[in-house]
């Protein structure tokens, strides 16, 4: 007769071994998949063209343009007193001139985007404050095709096939507050005619770095598209006064002449 107790013990031992083997294989597979996933993410992060484009070269302006710009400004927009006052401010300490966007818009933006008031835009001593605007949080997916960013520093964006990618860029921006990313988002939203969102992200970009010409251009263009032409003109004027940007001047001309609507 077979000793069943002894045999059962051997059977439990056998079962334990067989399950252990399965468990080891399972854990091994999980670890392998996880490591692959992590490695892939790291690779994507490192090879992202946007990340490489983080440093932004200060805007260089040509003297020839500046003179023409100034002329235009004087003729068309500014009252002399105001202009002189601003020039004085800039002369006093040009380095201290900063354009600071108010981030309060993030908490207030939920209520009404159209509540943008021109009165909010004020020049207080050496600081140009931007209007507080609510942020529209909805993010629509879109395929992204981007070939260049700036003339000085081309930014290559790899073609992505899912609209999820713009969300991913937003997530990345939320992590590192890189103005290159927010500018990228603003540009993409502007291209897909999401002007409110484009405006928001241009505003954020200006808040982080107020020397990015393209961000100001998108900011102004978005305002025009949102029927805030007067604000756009005001903001452009202030920016041109600060930077002597040729592109901003051209855009301003286009807005005045009605070529850009």
């Amino acid at each position: 007769m077979i000793d069943t107790k002894k045999l059962e013990k051997r059977w439990f031992k056998y079962k334990f071994k067989s399950y252990l083997l399965h468990l080891i294989i399972f854990v091994g597979v999980i670890v392998f998949i996880l490591s692959l996933f992590i490695a892939y993410n790291m690779f994507v992060e490192e090879s992202s063209p946007i990340k490489k484009a983080v440093p932004i070269v200060p805007i260089k302006t040509k003297e020839i343009n500046i003179t023409t710009e100034k002329k235009v400004i004087k003729k068309i927009i500014k009252p002399k007193e105001e202009e002189e006052e601003e020039k004085k401010i800039i002369k006093i300490d040009e380095k201290q001139l900063t354009v600071e966007p108010s981030f309060n818009f993030i908490s207030q933006i939920k209520y009404d985007v159209t509540n943008i008031k021109p009165e909010i835009v004020k020049v207080e001593k050496k600081i140009i404050k931007q209007p507080e605007v609510q942020e529209i949080k909805e993010v629509k997916k879109r395929e992204i095709i981007q070939h260049h960013r700036e003339r000085e520093r081309p930014l290559k964006i790899i073609r992505q096939k899912t609209q999820q990618d713009i969300k991913e860029v937003i997530k990345r921006f939320e992590k590192n507050h890189n103005p290159a990313l927010s500018l990228f988002i603003a540009r993409q939203y502007y291209e897909i005619k999401e002007y409110k969102k484009a405006y928001n992200y241009a505003l954020i970009t200006n808040g982080i770095n107020n020397d990015i010409e393209e961000s100001w251009i998108i900011f102004a263009k978005s305002l025009v598209k949102l029927n805030k032409k007067s604000i756009a003109i005001k903001m452009l004027n202030r920016y041109i006064a600060h930077s002597n940007s040729y592109r901003a001047t051209t855009l301003l001309d286009d807005i005045y002449s009605g070529q850009f609507r």
């Binding site: 007769m1 077979i2 000793d3 069943t4 045999l7 059962e8 051997r10 059977w11 031992k13 056998y14 079962k15 071994k17």
Partner: protein, 270 residues
């Protein structure tokens, strides 16, 4: 369930070679029929080969059982290694003579040539791979006389293939290979074997899953399967004796007990 049922079921799978225990399965029946037909043709030798436990000995027993009533047939299950002894036993069986003195190959050939037999006697040699090479060579010469037919079984290993090549290359009229059972064949084999012994309840306990597990452990080898199932019923019996059989479902074979049987006979390593 009655303890005696497990005991009688267990005995069905005792590892013995008995023609009465032969189970007819489609493929095996076809092979056997082919062997029977080969016997009726003028032949020198028939080689029956396959891995151990594929049923070669059973085939030979069945053949002997079927032919013995109509044909002079002599079966040697255990190899006779000594040459003198071999021819002496052969002469005694075939010609009903007693040789007190030694009988060598030449003397046996003389006896064979002088004999006047109506039917060609058939000599069945099991486990032929155990015969010495010199003796095998003489068996080959005997078959060349066409006075006697040989049906021999060989294990299929590298060594035995070599024997087959060297000794029977030009003489084998037909060679038949026996293989392990498929899962379906194994199920039929188990159930037919049990039903033949009126163990219907235990026969119904073997469903596809349990037979597949047995097949996985034994690779369909008849000898291994017999050993495993014998041990399986032995375990059932042990549980019944200890009144702890309630642990198991009696409508089907327990997977755990199959694995325990596998561990017990060394098919599984604990």
């Amino acid at each position: 369930m009655d303890k005696t049922l497990f005991i009688s079921s267990k005995e069905v799978f005792l590892d013995t070679v008995n023609a009465k225990d032969y189970i007819e399965l489609d493929r095996i029946s076809a092979i056997y029929q082919s062997l029977r037909e080969s016997i009726t043709k003028p032949l020198k030798m028939v080689l029956l080969y396959g891995k151990p436990g594929t049923g070669k000995s059973m085939f030979l027993s069945k053949l002997y059982n079927d032919l013995s009533t109509s044909t002079p047939v002599y079966m040697y299950k255990t190899p006779i290694i000594d040459e003198i002894e071999f021819f002496k036993i052969l002469a005694q069986d075939m010609f009903d003579m007693k040789y007190d003195d030694q009988l060598n190959f030449t003397q046996f050939m003389k006896v064979l040539n002088s004999s006047n037999m109506k039917d060609t006697p058939i000599i069945l040699l099991d486990e032929a791979q155990l015969y010495p090479d010199i003796l095998m060579e003489k068996i080959r010469l005997l078959s060349d006389t066409r006075k006697v037919k040989f049906v021999i079984t060989l294990h299929k290993t590298e060594k035995e293939d070599l024997i087959a090549k060297e000794h029977f290359k030009t003489r084998i009229w037909e060679s038949i290979e026996l293989e392990n059972a498929s899962s379906f064949e194994l199920k039929m084999y188990i159930q037919k074997k049990l039903m033949k012994a009126n163990c219907f309840d235990t026969a119904n306990m073997f469903d596809e899953k349990s037979v597949n597990l047995i097949h996985k452990l034994t690779h369909g080898n008849y000898r291994e399967s017999n050993k495993l199932i014998y041990t399986l019923f032995d375990i059932y019996e042990s549980y019944l004796i200890k009144n702890s059989s309630h642990k198991f479902n009696h409508n089907k074979i327990s997977k755990k007990l199959i694995e325990m049987a596998g561990i017990h006979i060394g098919l599984l390593n604990d």
